[in-house]
Symmetry: C2
Subunit: 257 residues, 2 copies
Amino acid sequence: MFTPRIPSKADIKLIRSLGQKKFREQTGLFVVEGEKMVEEALAQKRFPVEAVYRTADTGEETMGRMSLLSSPSPALAVLRMASASGTAASSGAARPSAGSTPLPEGLCLALDSVRDPGNVGTILRLADWFGIDTVYLSPDCVDIYNPKTVQATMGSIFRQKAVICGLTELARRCREASVPVYATALEGGQDIRKAPLETGRALIVMGSERDGVSPELLALSDARLYIPSFAADAADRAESLNVAIATAVTCYEFRRR
Amino acid sequence: MFTPRIPSKADIKLIRSLGQKKFREQTGLFVVEGEKMVEEALAQKRFPVEAVYRTADTGEETMGRMSLLSSPSPALAVLRMASASGTAASSGAARPSAGSTPLPEGLCLALDSVRDPGNVGTILRLADWFGIDTVYLSPDCVDIYNPKTVQATMGSIFRQKAVICGLTELARRCREASVPVYATALEGGQDIRKAPLETGRALIVMGSERDGVSPELLALSDARLYIPSFAADAADRAESLNVAIATAVTCYEFRRR
């Protein structure tokens, strides 16, 4: 339905609206930007490509009007979320209820209320790198089709399994199925370097930067892990790590064993 | 010189201009935003505080006009960079020549052409957490007083030593002084989990996301380290890690030993 090569006024208006979750959910569409992302979009099969625009055809001004990022790229594609294939990341529309969410088969991450778009995108990317089976997101996490999130995945949005579901219910079912649940915390619990870890099949819960992992999820965890600070003067150092950074170190420790 | 509590038109104009490096260098001023950052700014001694504004006094509209971030905070402070104290991060103006840059005393990082403001801020924050002695930045890295960088440090800008200098010259001097230089790479070199590492005093060089560590710096390195990907199907996984993520895993491995 999009005009090819040169977007119509209506196309531009629609694309601009996809900066907002409401309109992404209404239309089932999202946007990727940049030569590399568009190239990967055309090569993947998960999300049907509805339109591709390039500065060479549209001119810079039009591209600038369509771009949802702070600096426009020479290429932009509109994709349809949630294909019929089972492995597709669930869109807001296709959100499964917690009872039907598949349990972890390997090492999985759960993000509890992580709201920063860049962090969630960076986590999807590193999960892809570290061979994480699935990233579960609580419904109040930032939408994975947010333009900044998509961009920060650097293409991992096309590969990494992501599922939106209630984490408390998921953790409860993991425990019933004897899948260990690890929660990360700023302090308390065990030093991750020395903690015994089940690395084959487990759920690792990361909390929001402001509040950490919710008390309900902490109560459902088999162990609480923290990343020690190595500053000489711990009283006068960073109070916390960025959640994507903490996720990376945690995944690395699990994979390193 | 700033009007206290309610900014004048000239104040607002000046503050807005501090989004650009040129004006930060001309004035020697930079901005921090957010209640927590302003609180930390008032508690620290490195950068003199020139003005503090709060929404309660200015009203939301004025705050919105002053803010250099995508969403304005209820507090904003203007600080003077580069205090006389020796440990202050060097501003563009007070950039030391490479020959006079102090060599690493402990574990140090060097950022080669890292241009994303959020990445550099996140790296300063994690360096603070991991007790990194100094972060050296090549002159073409993003300015550490960029508003997004400052914000991503979450206060570590007030603590972490950062020095802008030519990295080739620095690496050469490290070698002369028998300080080991490690370069990180996407492939080639040694798996960081198994590589012998001198963890007491060393320079760890991180490259830009696009180009990695420059050939000159690679040639000056004692060892090249890579973080293995743990994806089952390496052909179909993320091609790289975000530079802040790679820095975190590298620092963690050095500190973990």
